[in-house]
Amino acid sequence: MYANPAPINSDISQISTIPDDIWITKTSAATKPQVTIWNQGISDSLWPNKQRIHQFLIDQAAVNFGGVPLSIDDDIIDAQIVPGVNGTKNSSSVYSDISCPGALTTYPIAINDMNGTAFINGSTNTDGSAQTGTIVGQYQDATTYLTHAYRYSGGICSVIDYSDAVVTWPSGINNVGQVVGHYEDSAAKMHGFLLTGSKFSTIDYSGASATYLSSINDAGQIDGYANVPNLGFQHFLYYAGTFYPINYNAGINGDATVVGQAVCGNTDCSYEEYLAPPSWTGPNTAVPQGPGYNLFAVGIDNDNDIVGGLEEAGDCSYSCGFLFPPGSAAITIFQYPGSNETEVYSINDFGQIVGSYSVPNSGDVHGFMVAPPQ
């Protein structure tokens, strides 16, 4: 059933045999699309089990991909459909450097789907460069050596330091423009923060000596972890004012699927965990891993592509990045050309991956984005 939230709530959810799957049309402003199936004006406990499509933008004129402009509405699908066959997407990879002006080092930590104020389309920027999502991260000023949190949008780096903090670490951004991360106060205590517009709010896990927020999706669901005296590290999903215990945290997508790391024997390995209401718990599966690898999954997009970092005895002894598309037999490993230390932090729905790389024998660290299919 395709319908608006009001008829779904008052009528469609009340009939004796409700439809198998629901396609919710709840459009958001094109400047803040909500690419998620949750928190769209109907209870999350209705149609919770891969039974939702959300139409999040309508009437987008002349959206151009591959030189073909179409007028479309945008949807995110987590429901039964008629599957395609043998389809593949080919992506050639292009690296773009990302560095804030005057920065010694720039770390791009998270990327969303917004090109300035618009959902990315397939056109290039006016200077011929690829459109990028809005990026948040940290950079170190080459003159003062001070570290700043930044937001990169439309070609401009803006400082977004929290005024009450000694240091601010952004680690996630959603399409609504909300940023999460953690900050250190003057007493050297770590707190989680949520930045909405220009307003910072502190989110601390009850009784924790330190709280870290990792990532936020468009439904406002945040994953993170906290250090609680006598209990150790607690992983959580923070949603609508409540902390739900989960097993892994690093990235979260619009389906509330989270990815993160665990220790498996002598190595680090990674899992994705499918959270669902009402308890926001669910099954998990392991990211495929080769022998002797340390695998750190950190980001997941709305197509369930997972990215992260990798250490092993060979070429990736420092670190490589990896990409794990859903349904693949194995991960794809990549290294920034000429570097021996590539770290990966985040992926958006257009396949844009951000990370950092070290310049061999110099110790300099630069940010990069590896571009999507064009």
Partner: protein
């Protein structure tokens, strides 16, 4: 974007408005001073090289409780050196149904016939299946605006007024054409008989007519004529009128061009453009500078035709033309603007704001072969399969009509989408989707597309196909007093329709257009 004279023109980038007096070599930022942080330049109209208007829309930083429309009209008589701005109160017809996502979308259209008489159309996010909005009119150069109350605006699209009473509107999901002869109070649908030499078509696109005076004008109509599995082709027919559009006759025909997205008429010359990304430079592992092949077709009143193709540095699509004559014009590639002075033999990038983007700190790395090591698959491209279970998280899109098979292939290659919605044929309140056939379904499924099969069918008697001034027009076909029997009957029809398309599926979606539950 509009070229007003060979030297003077304007271009808007969303948040900024630029003006040139040297054919695009240099641009001046003439953006009216914005009152809101995320304000956008929504539409622009210039009558001549000095007098113009801009319609500004403040994005979503407004407070909907205080100001539920937030449009501002700016007018200038000195080419944008100074603006006067008015902020009229505009009633949002959807606000009585207060629900997120409904209401003005921010997309607008603007036009004037003289320094006094002007119109604005504000689009409303109402439904995927229709185009609706409000029309405003001014008779005092934009100082005061009146929301039209008499008529039922048939759609909210591009329009062009020839005189203070006589105007045209073209577009919408069905790409149709309407005319008004009472300043926009009422609109009549215009359809022209298809010339027999066009042959079978998949779709008809009416463009806005261009008038030389009140009586004499030209109307380009595009017919999609490509074979279902072959390349997309377009036949453009130019109709002419000598009696103010009351009768039209075929004047010229340009048959079976490569897919045309936009056309223009200038000095009685028909101009059409085709663009396609240059595949020579897309060799998988290597990303080179974005290039597009741009073909310009012209057809004069003497039936003389030209056809020039050039390679331009863009990865956009030719979505808009503005020509002064056969030789001289601009094309909007959606990422950049290019100008020609020789009918498309050569093009120069005249995009505004280019110099302003020197600041960005992202630049292309010279090294472009990144994936050094593959586990489990060979080659230096990433291949992502769409097969597997039929329920996994993906992005998709829906459109009123199904794109052609080649268009779907281009989007499978280049877009982040994996799923497309199809409206099953044969339903009441539905429409004919010419491309949607069993051959199309099979082809796009093989390309990798997942499909959402949707039945539009009967709607609630409380649903409004459109609302004008609070007056609800219900859908043509609504549920009867026995909705249960209606539903069962519709389900059977939907199953048959999906089988006829060759869809093997266990899921069908029923489209219920928005209604306000408390009114039922």
């Amino acid at each position: 974007m509009k070229l007003l004279t060979p030297e003077v023109g304007w271009a808007a980038t969303g948040q900024e408005l630029y003006w040139t007096t040297d054919g695009g070599a240099q641009w001046r930022d003439i953006t009216p001073k914005l009152q809101h942080k995320s304000q956008e330049v929504s539409s622009v109209f210039f009558l001549d090289s000095s007098t113009g208007w801009a319609l500004l829309h403040c994005g979503d930083d407004r407070n909907p409780k205080i100001d539920d429309t937030c449009f501002e009209f700016a007018s200038t008589t000195d080419a944008g050196q100074s603006w006067s701005i008015v902020h009229p109160r505009i009633v949002d017809p959807a606000s009585s149904h207060i629900e997120d996502g409904l209401g003005f979308s921010g997309r607008t259209f603007l036009g004037f016939t003289d320094p006094q008489h002007g119109w604005a159309v504000l689009k409303i996010n109402w439904s995927t299946l229709s185009s609706s909005g409000e029309m405003l009119r001014t008779v005092d150069g934009g100082r005061t605006w009146t929301q039209l109350t008499k008529g039922d605006l048939p759609m909210a699209e591009h329009f062009h007024f020839v005189t203070a009473n006589f105007g045209w509107m073209a577009g919408g999901p069905d790409h149709v054409l309407y005319v008004t002869r009472d300043a926009g109070d009422s609109w009549q649908l215009v359809t022209l008989p298809k010339p027999s030499e066009v042959g079978p078509d998949h779709g008809i696109f009416y463009e806005l007519p261009v008038f030389e005076n009140e009586r004499r004008g030209f109307l380009p109509v595009r017919y999609e004529v490509g074979p279902e599995m072959g390349p997309d082709m377009t036949t453009v027919v130019l109709f002419a009128t000598g009696d103010g559009g009351r009768t039209w006759k075929q004047d010229r025909i340009s048959s079976r061009l490569p897919d045309i997205y936009s056309s223009d008429v200038a000095k009685s010359m028909l101009i059409a453009v085709h663009s396609e990304i240059d595949k020579e430079h897309q060799d998988g592992s290597q990303y080179s500078i974005a290039r597009t092949k741009l073909s310009l077709y012209t057809l004069g009143p003497d039936r003389n035709a030209t056809n020039n193709t050039a390679d331009i540095p863009s990865r956009g699509a030719a979505t808009q033309l503005s020509f002064l004559n056969r030789d001289y014009g601009w094309v909007n590639m959606s990422d950049r603007i290019f100008a020609t002075q020789d009918a498309g033999i050569s093009w120069v990038d005249v995009s505004p704001g280019g110099a302003r983007r020197l600041q960005p700190s992202i630049h292309q790395s010279p090294k472009t072969i990144p994936l050094q090591k593959q586990v489990g698959s060979a080659g230096n491209t990433t291949q992502q399969s769409t097969t597997g279970n039929n329920s996994s998280m993906q992005l998709g899109f829906d459109a009123y009509n199904s794109p052609t098979v080649p268009q779907m292939q281009a989007w499978m290659n280049s877009s982040p989408y994996y799923v497309f919605n199809v409206y099953l044929p044969g339903s009441l309140n539905g429409h004919k989707d010419n491309n949607l056939t069993p051959v199309w379904v099979s082809a796009v499924q093989t390309q990798g597309w997942g499909l959402i099969p949707t039945w539009v069918g009967l709607q609630s008697p409380c649903a409004c196909a459109k609302t004008v001034k609070g007056v609800c027009t219900p859908y043509a076909h609504v549920f009867s007093s026995d909705p249960s029997a209606d539903g069962a009957n519709e389900a059977d029809q939907a199953i048959t329709a999906s089988k006829n398309l060759g869809l093997v599926t266990t899921i069908l979606y029923k489209d219920i257009e928005n209604y306000t539950p408390s009114t039922s």
